[in-house]
Structures are given as structure tokens and as C-alpha cells.
Amino acid sequence: MARITASVYSSHIPAVGAAFDLGKTHEPYWQKVFSGYDFSKQWENEQKPDVIFLVYNDHATAFSLSMIPTFAIMTGPEFMPADEGYGRRPVPPVIGHPELASHIASEVIQKDFDLTIVNEIDVDHGLTVPMTCMFGKVDAWPCKVIPFAVNVVQHPVPSGARCFALGQAIRAAIESYPEDLNVQVWGTGGMSHQLQGPRAGLINREWDNDFLDRLIDDPAGLSKMPNIDYVREAGSEGIELVMWLIARGAMADTRGGPKPKVAHRFYHVPASNTAVGHLILENA
């Protein structure tokens, strides 16, 4: 059977992707960011996942105002890195897992999570930047990826509680897939940042670290935090952090299993406008 071995959480800041693509990773400013992923690249080398279920959001790239799906699962075979206005990132195409993705869609829709199903889409920095952080420079990504997009652009966006419950349903769906697969679930975005208005540049280090503590120790309690708190405390774009609760909901302890092991934790300010947060949790 397929099994979820770990969850990974990471910011997905576009400037981090640009710094990597332009060969600036050793500049002091960026070295501080990339150093937080040195452990992670080594760890992924050892973990060798078969599939990553990758939760991210599209940033007015593939979805404009003409379509705004709240939750969208990508069941297609291949996804190209998007041209977001600066040209396509020089990273490999993302290879999907149509069979597992369709199985997950089928299972969770029957549990009343009304997903949108997408077969053709270009994936933006929300997906490709965490891939770069975790795998570095590669000719081909070492595993398959099921992209899963959440609307965090137009309010109301889904609540933390809904995301957490969805994560639990996704976990059950993955674990009922008959093939023996090592699956990781990633939650991306955040941490505190605001990209608009006179409050732009907001960073809330204390709140971010409390979020990480609670994500580890009390995800069910954390999931009850209302969306207004994310926006007020972590900035208008800090609302992306609700997506981390999907990945956290997919861990074994949410159904009475043992608590996950914290394999890695990293926090740094700033990368561009944003606080960088990164966490790896392993199922025992």
C-alpha cells in the first residue's frame, strides 16, 4: 500500500527561485536562506520519495479572475513551469501521477470535499521554488508530483479547519492506494509577509514561531484559528499558511498514531519581503 512517510513545509518566495536561477546562492544575503535547506537536500537523497503531494497556490498565473477554484487537484501526466512574465524558470517539467491523483480525487470527493479536477496547467513559483529548495539543480525531478492548488488570493479562502480535515481525507485516500509508494505531503507558502499597501513589509517573528510550535504540537487546536488572525498577525499574504494545515492533517497522529518526529526546523528573515519558514516532520 502507499504510505505517507513525511510532511514538508516551506515558503515559496519567487525571489528565492530567481536567486537560484541567476547563480546567487553564495551571496551572503541568499546564502542565509539556502543554508536552511542544506539538511533537506541530504535528507531527500536518503528518503527517495516516489511521489510528492504538493499543496501550493497559483499566483494569478494559470488561474486568473476567470476561474477561481477553491481546491484543485492536478490529475494530468505533465506540467510545465509557467512563464510568470520573466520567462519560464529553467527547471525540469513536473511529472504527475495521474493514477494516484485520480484515486485521491475520487476518494475525497466521495467524502464531500468538492475538488476541481485539472488536467492541463502550467505550475508557477508556488510549486517550483520549494522543489528547487529541496532538490537543488537537477536535470529531472527525482520523483513524481501531484500538484494541489488552493485559492488564497480572493477572500473568503478556505479555513484552517477545512484544510486540516481535507488533509486527513487525503491521507486516508493515499493509504488506500494499492501500490507500494513512498509519499510525502508538502504544504507551501508563508510565513509572515504583506506585499501591499502602507503595511507592506510586515514580519511577525514571534507569531511565526508560535505557528511552527503549534503546527508540531497542537495542529487540531491551531486549525481552529480564524482566517482574520492570519491576515492581521502575519500579513495579507500570510494567509497562505492555511495550506500548511493540509499537509499537517495528512500525518498519522491526526488519527491516533504516534506524534511525528521533527527532523528539521528553520526560520529566517528576510528573503525579499518575506519570512522564510521550513519544517520537516517524519511519521514514526
Binding site: 519567487p14 525571489a15 544575503y29 499566483h59 494569478a60 498565473t61 486568473s64 479572475l65 476567470s66 512563464d83 510568470e84 512574465g85 520573466y86 488570493v153 480572493q154 477572500h155 473568503p156 509572515s192 504583506q194 506585499l195 501591499q196 499597501g197 502602507p198 503595511r199 507592506a200 513589509g201 510586515l202 514580519i203 511577525n204 517573528r205 507569531w207 482574520i228 491576515v231 492581521r232 498577525e233 495579507s236 499574504e237 528573515v269 528576510p270 525579499s272 519581503n273 519570512a275
Partner: protein, 138 residues
């Protein structure tokens, strides 16, 4: 059910909800068109003529030509869409975000390196933080 009014009580922040989305629909869709290189060229060659192809209000067009991001936000723009204009101009996201704060590019960058803008006094309108100044564009 409309959004909780608490969202409107955050200083220096415009929440992109259904109302803003309706107001800014064509402004944002114009921005999306700039993801195609051919459209970027046409826009740069004659901004006014390109903008006149879209069902935008005159205020929205003026705000675009003035590159006034705060005004564009107030008129229904969303920053992820508006960033396509910045990309067309060769601006980074940090330059765009900083331009909305009234700070110089250098001062904004230094603020970020020193830990970013503090949350203290910036949670609710009427407190005394540095994001409370009246929005000059309203």
C-alpha cells in the same frame, strides 16, 4: 454571508474580496494579458491605446499609467495581478511592495534586512504603528 468587518479594520491593507474583485475585474484581466510578450510590447509602445482596448474605468487607466499601486489596489486591483505591470517594467516584487509604503527603495530594503515592519501598533486602525498613516491615494 459577507466577510467579517474585522478584515476592514486592519490598517494599510485592502482585502481582495468579491466586491474588490468585481470592481477590479478588467483591471486585473488587463494585467493578465501582460504575461504574453507580444502584449507587453504593444502596451509599452502605446499604453493609452492598449488600455483603451479594456473595459476599465478612466481612474483605473490613470492609475496604471501613473504606476500608482495603492490607487490600483483601491480600484480593485490585486497585487499578484498588478505585479505583471511591474514585471513588464523590470521591477522586482520588493521594489513594487516598497513603492506602496512611501519609503525609499533603500529604506524599505534596510527595514526588511533589519527584521521587517513591526506588528506593534499595526494590528487595528487607530493604533499607533507606522502603517497607520492615511493612504494618500484615497
Amino acid at each position: 454571508m459577507s466577510l467579517d468587518k474585522e478584515f476592514k479594520e486592519i490598517p494599510g491593507t485592502i482585502i481582495f474580496d468579491a466586491e474588490q474583485s468585481r470592481k477590479g475585474y478588467w483591471l486585473n484581466q488587463f494585467c493578465m494579458s501582460l504575461m504574453k510578450a507580444a502584449n507587453r510590447e504593444r502596451f509599452k509602445a502605446n499604453e493609452r491605446a492598449y488600455l483603451d482596448e479594456w473595459k476599465m474605468t478612466e481612474d483605473q487607466k490613470q492609475a496604471v499609467m501613473a504606476r500608482d499601486l495603492n490607487a490600483m489596489m483601491a480600484l480593485g486591483g490585486n497585487i499578484y495581478f498588478l505585479s505583471k505591470i511591474g514585471a513588464t517594467d523590470g521591477k522586482s516584487f520588493q521594489q513594487m511592495a516598497g513603492s506602496m509604503t512611501g519609503m525609499s527603495e533603500e529604506a524599505y530594503r534596510d527595514m526588511m534586512i533589519n527584521g521587517g515592519r513591526s506588528i506593534e501598533g499595526n494590528r487595528r486602525i487607530g493604533e499607533h504603528g507606522d502603517a497607520q498613516r492615511p493612504n494618500k491615494d484615497k
